[in-house]
């Protein structure tokens, strides 16, 4: 590693502020030629902002960038490209209707470049069919195309945003080898990811971002410090407040029994034999790094995706084969993560948004507006929202919309409430209101399943916590038994898989 030499890129005190959020806060980062530098962090840690700055798409609000020791201003993507910085975004910037060649022309490659493109493709063993339409290429072929384009344009610093997110295991491995090869040639590779395993395999240096700041940096990576990395990503665990709670009742409200799904197309995660029981009057938290099967789990629990009948029980009723509406009738309510456009229709009024999922608001296909208005007012009053029922939902602030959404689902008096990070992106007071409402629901005997990547939220709510990793679920630990080590290990996928057996014993007992 070229540590004595002038680093390829050095970033000092980089800052970027969006309105009230500090996306990047005093980031210092040094990237040397010939190294694979991993940038780790949760969603919202500030990785994307940093990538956009490096690509020249966003200008920083403070700090300096030095390229080979010279101060530079990355004021446009062109400047970045001229210096030799190439960014491969997670969602490729390709025109699907054009052929590979046409796309390359569009990216500014002329005939001699095309020739070099072919040479590069042969050299790295990355075949790309030049005359195919991009829409007929697989995800990995598209990625090869983008990567080869960067190499043809003589990129010295390659920034790869979640490059393996769309790849299968075998393809991922090939890709890792390629990254090492590129580094060996004296280029620098910045790998943005939240997969620890990858980082350990391929990176020389890892920098961990959390909440816009650099919280740790590790060199000489090996399996021994995987846990350190995970701990850095997770951060300090929130203090448990031993609020007096009634113990959960023994009756099962929701039972998953060897719940499995197939992976969706070439990406997505397959859920593997999840077994877990949530009891009445209990809040179960499901933690995990994003992209480990959360979306899939929510889809299969809410009924958006169906499975075999017996793999999911609502109380004693097999419901795996039922759709959303039928599960709703059985007493399942769902607060989705996307509150605008999924959980609600922004262009409609609050009353209409109550009508969206509330039962008993119509008779023989005829809306009962009187009842609907009463129900809407009840929901609004319960959450101290002072808008009239005819307000458009889009006129509510984010926090108000979320309180409305939670309120609407609670008003269905469900037996099981499924909530995807219910306090995400709302202010503190609003989050407290929502947490209080969920705890109140728990006290009434409802079972609540909270799927979230935010540990603060999970610790404020959960009675037990399980971790989802690559479609597998850890045993659900009572909160008293959850410590940083255990959680970090499980979230990084280092937990012994024997957990499943342990869980079966627990469920049986």
């Amino acid at each position: 590693m070229a540590e004595a030499a002038v680093p390829l890129l050095s970033i000092r005190g980089l800052r970027k502020i969006y309105g009230q959020t500090v996306a990047n806060d005093h980031i210092d980062l040094t990237i040397a030629a010939g190294e694979v530098h991993a940038l780790l962090g949760e969603n919202g840690a500030g990785k994307s902002t940093l990538v956009k700055i490096l690509a020249g798409l966003t200008r920083p609000d403070g700090g300096t960038l030095h390229w080979r020791g010279e101060p530079v201003h990355l004021d446009s993507p062109k400047t970045a490209r001229r210096l030799g910085i190439a960014v491969v975004l997670q969602h490729f910037a390709l025109c699907p209707g054009l052929t590979v060649q046409e796309n390359l022309r569009l990216a500014g490659l002329d005939r001699p470049d095309l020739q070099r493109f072919k040479t590069q493709a042969a050299r790295y063993g990355l075949p790309v069919p030049l005359d195919s339409c991009v829409m007929h290429l697989s995800a990995s072929e598209r990625q090869r195309l983008e990567l080869l384009r960067c190499l043809t344009q003589e990129a010295q610093l390659l920034v790869l945003d979640e490059p393996t997110a769309m790849l299968g295991p075998a393809e991922s491995r090939t890709f890792m080898t390629l990254m090492r090869q590129l580094a060996a040639e004296g280029r620098a590779v910045v790998l943005i990811t939240h997969k620890l395993q990858e980082v350990l395999e391929v990176a020389d240096v890892a920098t961990v971002l959390r909440r816009g700041r650099v919280v740790g940096r590790l060199t000489d990576l090996d399996a021994a410090n995987a846990r350190d990395l995970a701990t850095m990503m997770v951060g300090d665990l929130p203090q448990l407040q031993p609020a007096p709670r009634t113990p959960p009742r023994q009756l099962p409200a929701l039972t998953m029994h060897r719940l499995s799904t197939a992976a969706h197309r070439d990406h997505g995660v397959a859920l593997q034999e999840l077994s877990l029981t949530v009891r009445r009057g209990e809040i179960l938290g499901i933690a995990g790094v994003a992209g480990n099967g959360q979306e899939e789990l929510l889809a299969v629990l809410s009924g958006l995706q169906r499975t075999s009948p017996a793999s999911l029980l609502l109380e004693d009723e097999p419901c795996g084969h039922l759709g959303v509406a039928a599960r709703r009738t059985l007493g399942l309510a769902y607060v989705p993560s996307d509150r605008l456009g999924v959980g609600t229709v922004p262009s409609m009024t609050l009353a209409e948004n109550v009508l969206l999922t509330a039962s008993g608001m119509s008779q023989l296909g005829w809306v009962r507006h009187g009842r609907l208005a009463v129900r809407t007012r009840e929901i609004l009053a319960h959450f101290h929202l002072h808008q009239p029922p005819q307000t458009r939902l889009a006129d509510l602030s984010g926090g108000m919309a979320q309180r409305f959404l939670v309120g609407r689902e609670i008003s269905a008096q469900p037996k099981v409430l499924l909530a995807a990070h219910p306090t995400w992106g709302v202010d503190v007071r609003c989050a407290q209101d929502i947490i209080a409402a969920l705890l109140e629901l728990r006290a009434k005997g409802c079972a609540v399943v909270v799927v979230s990547e935010d540990l603060d939220e999970l610790f404020a709510l959960a009675d037990r916590l399980a971790v989802l990793y690559r479609g597998q679920l850890s045993p659900a630990w009572p909160m008293a038994e959850v410590d940083e080590h255990r959680l970090a290990q499980a979230m990084a996928g280092l937990a012994p898989t024997a957990g499943i057996a342990e869980h079966h014993a627990l469920a049986a007992g």
Binding site: G323, A325, A326, Y334, P336, G341, G365, V367
Partner: protein, 352 residues
């Protein structure tokens, strides 16, 4: 908020009328036709007497009926643009029944009404089935089915159904029992449609199916989340709009035409799309726009006779008004909003 939005719709409608009039004047200038006389011939003469006004309502009726159906489909994001074909299919079914069984007595009229609705639904069902079972765009298939219906209609009226010893490509007159009764110079369809128009806002406000279609159109993910069966909703929207278009076909043959001919649709199914968008999917808006479109059609006919202007001038005016409506719908709210923000800014600046 609600009032402001209602005002915005009204303002954009008025702005569209003004813009349309200006552009029309410009077009007249370019065509070197006398403006005052043309306006007189186009917009005043056709409705100068009671007969003309009744003609206006009779012409507007099938337009409005098609538009009501289409507005339901468009709300749900179901792009049924083949109302013209569904109209012809309805007319073929009802007309065929009436011609084949002229002696059904009092049952003939209701049977024809049902046949017309069924014919329209059948034609829409083909497009719906292709969309739901094969994933084919209903926009294209419903449009192409228009031509299929047109060819079938032409084949029938020039072949097996052609009036023996008649002059043109048309059937013989429908039996009296199949004709709509005439009350006060207007056929029953117009009266019933007026009542339906008044009830429509009630249906819009109260029918769960209409609500669900709106959800499907405005936020399909929310419809999925809420557990709505989008396939069923698409079926319902297609069948309803098809049925109403089929009935519009019946209004034509059992009202002003009295028989089937290849031109019985007069493009009403396509003009209805104009009516739906210019009327902004609202019942009153659609009623007014169908009257306007009907007036333009009558005006064009009148201008052809009185001023020897080609009928395409009428189409030109219709196009001008459609473009004005669409432009104003898009830009008037944006302009209003900009003006509002500017005023607030100025106020804030004064405050500070």
């Amino acid at each position: 908020m609600r009032w402001l939005r209602a005002d915005t719709a009204l303002l954009s409608g008025l702005a569209a009328m003004v813009l349309g009039a200006l552009l029309t004047a410009l077009a007249m200038k370019m065509l070197a036709i006398p403006a005052i006389e043309t306006i007189q011939v186009f917009f005043v003469d056709p409705v100068a007497d009671g007969f003309g006004r009744r003609q206006l309502l009779i012409t507007a009726a099938p337009l409005f009926l098609c538009a009501l159906g289409l507005s339901v489909a468009f709300r749900g994001g179901v792009q049924n643009i083949g109302a013209d074909g569904q109209l012809m299919s309805g007319a073929i079914c009802a007309g065929g029944l009436a011609l084949a069984h002229p002696h059904m007595g009092v049952l003939l009229l209701p049977a024809c009404v049902l046949a017309a609705a069924a014919g329209g639904m059948l034609w829409a069902a083909i497009a719906a089935a292709l969309r739901i079972w094969c994933g084919a765009s209903e926009l294209l298939s419903s449009l192409f089915l228009v031509y299929v219906a047109q060819l079938i209609l032409t084949a029938l009226v020039s072949g097996p159904w052609r009036e023996p010893g008649g002059y043109g490509m048309e059937t013989g007159p429908l039996p009296d029992g199949a004709m709509l009764p005439v009350w006060g110079g207007l056929h029953a369809g117009v009266w019933l449609l007026a009542i339906l128009g008044m009830l429509w806002w009630l249906l819009e406000r109260h029918l769960v199916m209409f609500f669900r279609l709106r959800v499907l159109g405005e936020a399909p993910e929310a419809a999925r989340y809420a557990g709505y069966r989008s396939d069923n909703l698409i079926w319902a929207a297609m069948l309803l709009s098809g049925a109403l278009a089929g009935l519009a076909g019946y209004l034509q043959i059992a009202g002003p035409l009295g028989r089937l001919n290849p031109d019985l649709s007069s493009g009403y199914g396509f003009a209805a799309i104009v009516v739906v968008f210019a009327g902004q999917l609202g019942c009153l808006g659609m009623a007014l726009t169908s009257l306007l479109v009907a007036l333009l059609r009558l005006g064009a006919e009148n201008a052809q006779i009185a001023m020897h202007l080609p009928q395409s001038v009428g189409l030109l005016f219709q196009g001008v008004f459609l473009v004005s409506f669409l432009l104003c719908q898009r830009w008037v709210p944006i302009l209003l909003e900009r003006m509002a923000t500017m005023t607030t800014r100025r106020r804030t600046a004064h405050g500070a």
